[in-house]
C-alpha cells in the first residue's frame, strides 16, 4: 500500500474565535483500526465531522483514496465510501431496524422518484437484493432477530450495534465510529472490541474516537492523540501510551 487511504494535511477549523483544529495532519493506511484519543474538548468529534463532511475545513486538505473531500457535503462523502456512526445514536424513529439498515444501503441502491413511483416492476429485484444484503449485515453482527423491531424501542447497547450495521450496509472502505463504547458496560465493551476487530478483518478501515482506554489499547493498530485541537502524538498504542507529552496532557499540565 503505497498511498494512505486517508490523508489529512494541515487542517484548520475555527468556531468563532476558538481554534478547534490547529494544524492537524495525519494519515491512515487501509485495513487498520486507528483510534483518536485526547482529553475533552480536544477536537476529536470535530475532526470526525470534518472528515465526514458535516463541517468544512477552514484550510488544509483531506484526501480519501487520493481524492480531496474537504468541503464536500456528507451525502457525497458517503458515496465515496466513508460511513459513520454518531456519539448519541441517531437511529431513525418510526422505522424498523431493517428499514434503518436499508437506508444505510442507500448509496448502493439505485432508483429515483420516477422509477420508484412506477413500482415493483422496476424496483423489485433491487429491493430484494438490498433486503438480503442488509439482513446479512445484521446477521453478522448478531442482530438479525431484531430486524422487525421498532428501532427506538431497543436497548441502548443494541441500538449501537444497529447503528454500526446501518453504517456497514453501504460497504464502506472507511468506517468512522464516534465513541462506540460510550455508555456500554465492560462486557458490552469487550463485545464491541471484538466486533471492531471483525470489521477490520473484513478489510474495512476503522477510525474510532474513544475515551475507553481498554478498548483503545486492546483493539487499535495505531493511535492519534489530540489535545486542544493539536496533534500531540501518533503511533502504535504502547508507544503513545508511554509518550511523556501524552501523559502530561492527561494527567499533568493539562491545558485543554
Amino acid at each position: 500500500m503505497s498511498r494512505a487511504l486517508l490523508e489529512v494535511n494541515s487542517l484548520h477549523r475555527w468556531f468563532g474565535g476558538l481554534h478547534v483544529i490547529d494544524e492537524v495532519s495525519f494519515s491512515c493506511r487501509a485495513g487498520i483500526v486507528k483510534a483518536i484519543i485526547g482529553p475533552n474538548g480536544a477536537g476529536k468529534t470535530t475532526l470526525f465531522n470534518l472528515i465526514a463532511g458535516s463541517l468544512a475545513p477552514a484550510s488544509g486538505s483531506i484526501l480519501f483514496d487520493g481524492r480531496p473531500t474537504g468541503g464536500l457535503p456528507p451525502h457525497q462523502i458517503a458515496r465515496r465510501g466513508i460511513s459513520r456512526t454518531f456519539q448519541a445514536t441517531r437511529l431513525f424513529p418510526r422505522m424498523s431496524v431493517l428499514e434503518n439498515v436499508m437506508v444505510g444501503r442507500h448509496v448502493r441502491t439505485r432508483g429515483g422518484f420516477m422509477a420508484s413511483m412506477i413500482g415493483p416492476a422496476l424496483m423489485g429485484p433491487g429491493e430484494k437484493r438490498a433486503r438480503e444484503a442488509c439482513l446479512a449485515v445484521l446477521d453478522e453482527l448478531g442482530a438479525a432477530d431484531l430486524a422487525g423491531r421498532d428501532a427506538a424501542s431497543l436497548a441502548f447497547g443494541r441500538q449501537r450495534v444497529v447503528e454500526i450495521a446501518r453504517a456497514l450496509a453501504s460497504e464502506p472502505r472507511l468506517l468512522l465510529l464516534d465513541e462506540p463504547a460510550c455508555g456500554l458496560n465492560p462486557a458490552e465493551t469487550e463485545d464491541m472490541g471484538a466486533l471492531i476487530g471483525r470489521i477490520r478483518d473484513r478489510g474495512i478501515t476503522v477510525l474510532i474516537v474513544e475515551h475507553d482506554m481498554s478498548l483503545v489499547m486492546g483493539i487499535s493498530d495505531e493511535v492519534l492523540v489530540l489535545s486542544a485541537g493539536r496533534r500531540i502524538a501518533e503511533g502504535a498504542p504502547r508507544d503513545v501510551q508511554a509518550d511523556p507529552q501524552v501523559v502530561a496532557v492527561y494527567l499533568g499540565e493539562a491545558d485543554a
Binding site: P73, P74, P93, R94, E99, A130
Partner: protein
Amino acid sequence: MYLRRYFPVFCLLFLVILVQLGLAALKLEFYMTQLTMSAYYTLVALGLTLLMGYAGQVSMGHGGFFAIGGYAAAVLATVGFASWVSLPAAILITGLVALLIGIPVLRLRGHYLAMATLAFGIIVLRILLGTNLFGGADGLSDIPAFRLFAGLAITGRKALRVQNYYIAWGLVLVGLLTGINLVHSRVGRALRAIHGNEDAAAAMGVDVARFKLATFVLSALYAGVGGACLAFFNGGIGPGEAGVMKSVRYVALVAAGGMGSLWGTLAVSTALTFLSLRGAFGVYDDAVFGAILVGIMLFAPEGVFSLLARRNRPGNAQ
C-alpha cells in the same frame, strides 16, 4: 407482500365502481358531482401527505398550487389552446413554480417554513385577485371542456357525469398507486429517514435537499393536476382556491388522516370534502376544519384512526 400492499387498491376500485352503480340504481346520480369534486381535492391531500407525512415538511400554501394548476389550464384553454396542450402545460407550470419556490424556501424549517409557504399562498391569492387576466375576484368561467378521445371529456355536463366520476377517481387511484409505490421504495425510506433525522440521513448518502425539493414539487404536481382537472370539470375556477382557508383545510385533512397515512388521508379527505361540498357544515364550514385541526393535534396527533385502534406503534408505514 405485494398482495397485502395492493389489495386495498383493488378494494378501492371495487368500491368506486360499487358506489357508482349503487347511486345509479337509487337514482341518486346527483351525488356524483360532489364525489367527483371530492376526488380532485383529495388528490391535493394525497400529495400533501407525501410531503408532510413522509418528508416531514409542512406546507401552508398548497391551495396556491391547486389554483396555479387550475388558472393556468383555464387561461390556456380559454385563450384557444387545444385542451391536450392546456392540461399538461398547466401541470408543467405548476411544477416549475414549485421548483422555483422550493429551492430557496425548503432551506427553512419549522415555523419559518410554515410562514414562508403561507406567504406563498397569500401572494398567489393576491396576484389572482389583482390581475384582470385572471378575472379578479370573480375568477374565470366558461372554460371549454377537456376533450380526451372518443367522446371522453372532463366537463361538468350531466350527460358525461359518470365518465367524469371515473376519470376523477381513476386519477386518485393512479395518485394513490404511485404514492404507495414511492412510500415502499428506497425513496420512501429516504424520505422517512429525512423526517426522522436529517443529519443522519445525509450521513447515509441521502441528498436531503434534492429529496425535499423533489417531494415538494411532486406534491405540487398532485395539486396542480387536481386544480387543472377541477377547472375543466367545473368550467370555472375562483381565487378562493388559493386562500388560506383552503390551504389550511388540506393540512387538516392530512393531519386527521394520520399525517403519514395515504389511506387515512384518502378516507378523511373524501368524507369531509364531500360533506363540506354538500353543505353539511353550513355556515360553520371553516370553523369545522379549524376545530378538526385543533382537536386532532391536541387529542389524536397520530390521526383519527389511532383513536380507534390503539396500537403500540401508531403511524405504521403504509
